[in-house]
Structures are given as C-alpha cells and as structure tokens.
Amino acid sequence: MRAALGSSGLVMGAFAAVLGVLTTALGLARRDRRIMNTGRQFTYVVLAGALIAAGAMEWALLSHDFSLAYVVKNHARATPLLYTVAALWGALEGSILLWALVLAGYLAFTARKFRSRAGDPLVAWALLVGLVVATFFFALMLGPANPFKVVSGVVPQDGLGPNPLLQNHPLMAIHPPMLYLGYVGFTIPFCFAVAALVTGRVGEGWLLETRRATLVAWAFLTAGIVLGAWWSYEVLGWGGYWAWDPVENASFIPWLTATAFLHSVVVQERRGMLRVWNLSLILATFCLTILGTFLTRSGVVNSVHAFTESDIGAWLLVFLGAAAVTGLGLIAWRGDRLRTPGRIDSPISREGAFLANNLLFAGFAFVVLLGTVFPLLAEALRGQQLSVGEPYFDRMTVPIGIALLFFMAVAPALPWRAASGDVLRRRLAGPAWAGALTMAGVAAAGARGVAQVAAFGLAAFALAGIVRVFAVGLAARRRADGGGWFHALAATVAGNRRLYGGLVVHAGVVVVAVALAASMGYTTKREAHLATGERTALAGYHFTYLGAVDHDTGQKRTVKARILVERGGRRLGVYAPALSIFPNSAQAIGTPSVRTGPLRDVYLTLVSSPDETGRITLGVQVGPLVVWLWIGGGIMLLGTAVAAWPGRRAGRRAQRVEVSTRPSPPPAEERLEEAPV
C-alpha cells in the first residue's frame, strides 16, 4: 500500500520531469510563451511527486511497515521517534529520495519566483536544465536505488534499526538535511549558468538572478559542514572534529569553490571581468556535489560515512561526466562572447585581491580533491590500495589557509581599480598594528608554532579591519542622521547589507580560524590505565576513576566509567564516558563525555572497558577554544542571513534597481573611497 503510493509518487515525478523537459524544449523551439509556461508548471507536479514519495516513506517508517526492504534495514520498533523520521536519510535510497525532494523544492520555488517571466528563454532554459537533473535522480530511484523495494517472502516482525552511529546524537537529524539543502541548492545557479551560455546572455544577468540562491545554498552547506564537524566531535569519540575523511572532503571541496564563486561574482558585477572563471566555478561546484554524492553513496571509499554500498556509482559517474562535458563544451562554444571588456589595472586593488583569493581557494580545492581521489585513481589504474595520510592535508592546507586569512584582512580595505599608498596607509595602518602587536604579544606569552602565531596575528588584523569599517560607517551615519548608536548601527547595516553581512561572515571566519589554530596546536591528550580509585592528571586537571556502571539491554551492552574531574582541588563534577558494544557487530561505539567551556574543553573517552584486573583505559584530552568553532560557524550564518535576507525592497524588480541606481545615501563602502577618513 505505502510502497505502491511511494512508487506512484516516483513515477509521477519522473513523468512530470520528462514532460516538463519536452514541453519547455518545444516552447523554446517555437518561441511560444504559453507552452514554456506549461513546461514551467510541471515543476510543481515534480514537487508533488517527490512529496508523495517522501511522505509515503515517512509513513512506512512511522507505521513500522516492514514489508519495505528499506524500512527493515533502517528502522526497528524500538527506534526513537527522532531517528525514525531521520531514517529517511540514513541510507542510500532514502538520501537519494531526499535529494530529489530538495531539488524539486528548489525548482518549484524558482519556477514560482520567475512566474511572470515564463517566456524569458533564460528562465525556460534554466528550468529545463533543472528538470533534466531531476529526471536523472528520479530515474536513479526507479532503477538502481529504489527506496520502495518490497521484501521477498514473509514480512519480518521487526527491523534492524539504523546504523548505531546514526542513532547516537540528535545532530544526526539535522546535519544531513542541511548538507543536502546546500549541495542541491547549487543546482540552481548551475542551471542559470548553463541557460546563460545556451542563450548567449553571458553578461551579469544570470549572476544577479541567482545571487540569493547561491548565498542560501552556501549558508546551508556551511551549516552542514559545521554541524558535521560537531557531530564527529560529540559522537565519534576520537577527540577531533575533522579527519580529512573522504566524505568530509566531499562536502568541503564544493564549499571551497562556492566560496570562491561568491567572491569572484562581485568582480564580474562591478567590472564585468572573470566571466569564464565564474561560469567554470559554478560548473565545478555542481560537478563536485555530484562527485561528493558518488564518494558518499557508492561505497568506493572506506570512511566513517560510507554506510552503504551499491551500484549507483556508475550512474553518478556517467552523469558527472555528462555535466562536465556539457558545461565545458558550452563555455568553449561561447568563447567569443565571454571576452571580458575590462582588465585589472593594478594588482593592489580590490579586484586584484579577489583574484588572489580565488586562486587560493581554487588551489585549496585542488589540493583537497587530489588527496581525496588519489587513492581511487591509484587503485583503478595500478591496482594498489593506499591512503593519503593526514599530514599531507595539514601541511598543504595550513599555508593556504593563512594566506587566505591575510587576504581576508587586507582585501576589504583595498579600493577598486587602483590603490594609492596614502589610502592604504590610512586604512591598513591601524589593523596592521593590531595584528603585529597581537603576534608579538602571543609570541611573548609563549605561544608555540609559526602557523599559530601567524594565524592569531592575522585574525587580529582582520578583525580590526572589520571593526574599522563598521566604525567609519557608524560615525558617518551619526554625523548625517544623529541619533543613538544602536539606531545608527541598524541604519548603516540596512544601507548596505551585502557589505556588512559579508563582514560579519568574515568575523565568523576569524573566530573559526583562531579556534582552529588553538585547538590544532595546543590540544594535549593522554591515555591512562586506571583501577578504581586511581587518578591521572593532564594540563592542571585531575581525573579520578570512581567505578564502572554496566547496563545491558539485550540489544547492546553499555559500560559507563564514572570519572571525577577536579581542577586546583575544586570538584568540577562527575563525567561518564561510555562504550557500547553490539554483540553481533564488530563495532564498539564510544560515547565521549565533554565538559565544554569558553576557554577549553575537557574531553573524556573510554578507550577500553574494565579488563580482568578491573582497570580501564581512559582517554583524556584538553583542547582550547573548541567551542568557538561552533560559535564562529553561527556568526558566519548570521552574516549570511544579514546579506541574503529578503528586505522590504526585495522582489523581482528591486534587485535590478539596486544595481543600476545606487540607493541614497551612498553605501559606506563607496564613501570609504572618497571621504578623508
């Protein structure tokens, strides 16, 4: 019943996608606005089909319908409600269904947003491309990744339940949807990029149409990555948050190219340059999301996330190849129209800094991509199994990260076209002093590591620069309007939300960078064998083992070690890292116990449960500033929201007004260039 409902939803979605493609193509061929409009409306049917299918799956999960193979594999009667709902994206078939649902949602939203421009070939082509992508994902579900496969034989009484790792923390319910909202969101700018190439309207139009979509997708991807790191830290119990795991990288590489894109579009908007580059970046971002899906879902890599293995790998690779070849072919075909009218006058200018930033981001993405796919290539070409060690990633990416931090500090102060020494001195002297003094300060305070000292100094440099821009804007606003600081702040930000939102994102990056440098450089850890009553010490903390508590539910055996944590003779509480063993599985799932603080986290793990002599192995770790990683991620999201939130002026026409005529009073960014500050 539910299987039939779900399958019909899939068939409906697939048919609507194909019909939408054909109708839109017909409309484009005949230049008939009405036919194109009909094609546009098929996106709503696709969404309805995806909703029916996803709804049927949730219904099946919630009603314990074990006639479905997917439900048997990913759900058990004892599974709590949250993880039951989350089981939709717990395995391959369901996550492809989620992918299709999110894509259908974005497409329908786009179709609605551009409803008054249904006859515009740019919009029609964009929707056509989107529907082709949707067709592919629905075909996946009707073919090799069918979520509604029925079990053969007798219907089991109970299911296996989700993978133990996936039912250990509520973050599991949010992290994958966030990641997918980000991943899939980049399909929209990709569709418009292809549409721009096909129609030959390769100017700035398509960028403006998709600006918000790109920002929203970027924000979701950022949130997904940060939440993933957090989940890894809270659940996996190895004490870290990022392991350069192939699947972590799969989400990070498109983030890098997308971040580069967000910056380089500004250059195209302002100066009309970098057209090929921008098209290539968005094309690359889309292809990398497909590659990421391939890495995550085809089981080709060994990773904590490779929960499923299947034969959809070949399908995804073919689709990836088709997307890349189409995109590159289109760019080559439109080569003559993509010549840029402008050129970079001086390397010391805003566009010069953006270019450097883009090269660094692209290099970053290349380094991580190479390290991620190299084992696959080596195995495919030479039949050798190998892995790329973490030191490769650390050694390669840390210098790039520091260089990026430097450009992030300097770029907002550079004017467009060319900078005079005078302007630079006025704008950069203060922040540069702040950076230099910070470096000297932390070095004097005994900070170890060149990378750490550089990161702290550049973070201070960047932060001081951000504060300076805010202060200048605020002061100008107060001179003009009078009124209180708070009012002036609101008015300043509202006057140029892209600038100030972007700066808030930068502030978030600064916080993340400091937290990364500190936690990577100054985390101390040790393991200790402890009998009951014995204690060990680390970084001024004392840990006393009070005893273990055993808890057997039949499905799993959990051992909790009670550890008293003290510092300077003060009791900080009893923490209980645990270890769960699932008798039929070779997996022991550790549950770390973390004492989070603003300055440092104390991270306790039970490495092994009491042995014959009653001794446990306890892992203790003291990591500075870890919590600021998550806070920094939150600040980045806040900034993105400021920049992308639809304001009162938002709407189809207002966006254009915003570019053609500058709102008055002129944004502070402009004023910075002329006013003697």
């Binding site: 048997v72 058990a76 079990v151 053969s152 034989g153 007798v154 219907v155 089991p156 009484q157 109970d158 299911g159 296996l160 339940g161 993978n163 133990p164 089981g299 490779a306 929960f307 499923t308 293995e309 290099g363 290349f366 380094v367 190479l370 390290g371 190299f374 050798q384 199994q385 190998l386 892995s387 790329v388 060690g389 973490e390 030191p391 490769y392 050694r395 390669m396 393991e527 064998h529 039949g554 499905q555 799993k556 270890l579 063993i581 699932f582 008798p583 039929n584 599985s585 070779a586 997996q587 022991a588 550790g590 490495v607 092994s608 449960s609 192995t617």
Partner: protein, 135 residues
C-alpha cells in the same frame, strides 16, 4: 602588448608548475600503502622503514601485554608477522580479530602505533533474522 602577454603566460606557467611540484611532492611523501601480511613480508626489503598499513587477523594465543606495548602475531593465512604495538589496542582487539595495523618494519618485527579493527559497513544487531522472517 604581445610580449607582455607572453610574459604573463610564462610567469603563470612557472607558478603552476611550482605549485604542482609542491603538491605532488607532498602527496608522495604522505602516501600510506595498504598491504596484506603476505605483501608486507614480500616487500619488507624494499619498504625499509616506510610507513604502511598491514591487514590481517590476530593469531589466537599470541597476544602478550608488556607494559605500554602489546605484542602479537597477525596472519593472512599464508604469511605471519610479529607486531609490537605501542599504546593501548582498541576495545574490540582480541584473538582472531581482523585488524589493520599502521606502522613500519623495525628489524624482524612490525612496529605499529595505530590499530584499527576492520568491520563490515552493514551492522547486524542480535536476534533479528534478515530477509525472510522467522516467526
């Protein structure tokens, strides 16, 4: 105009080549090969003290804890290697467990500092029959 453009291309090419060299160099220094015990024994002379991962199963009855190290033998059915692991083995380390040890040859023994327990990606809780039901 033209010579200037050429200069840009040459400069860009040199930068690109330098970056590639750096990346490939970094990559080749940090590759960790994955070998079975037989492969590891066969390429012992060639490997020297290079790090790699060795996969096999713990030979029952050979595990011996000595202070901070654990000594045991691993086998893949054909060859057997002696391993000395520095540190504490993970929870599920026991006789017969399928393990991956990361480390390098040190004389006749394999000095490991990281043990991973290999496990299938499919998780099976107890008391549940898959596929065809039993009740």
């Amino acid at each position: 105009m033209r010579p200037r453009r050429l200069r840009y291309i040459v400069a860009g090419g040199i930068c690109l080549a330098a970056v590639l060299l750096l990346v490939v160099g970094g990559l080749s220094r940090n590759i960790v090969y994955f070998r079975t015990v037989s492969e590891a024994v066969n390429s012992k002379a060639k490997d020297g003290t290079a790090r790699f991962r060795m996969a096999g199963a713990v030979v029952p009855g050979t595990v011996e804890r000595r202070g901070d190290t654990v000594a045991f033998k691993v086998t893949d059915g054909n060859e057997t290697a002696e391993v000395v692991h520095h540190g504490d083995p993970p929870e599920l380390f026991k006789d017969g467990a399928p393990v991956v040890c990361e480390g390098h040859w040190q004389g006749a023994t394999f000095a490991s500092d990281r043990i991973m327990i290999k496990h299938g990606s499919e998780y099976r809780p107890p008391k549940v029959d898959t596929g065809a039901g039993t009740k």
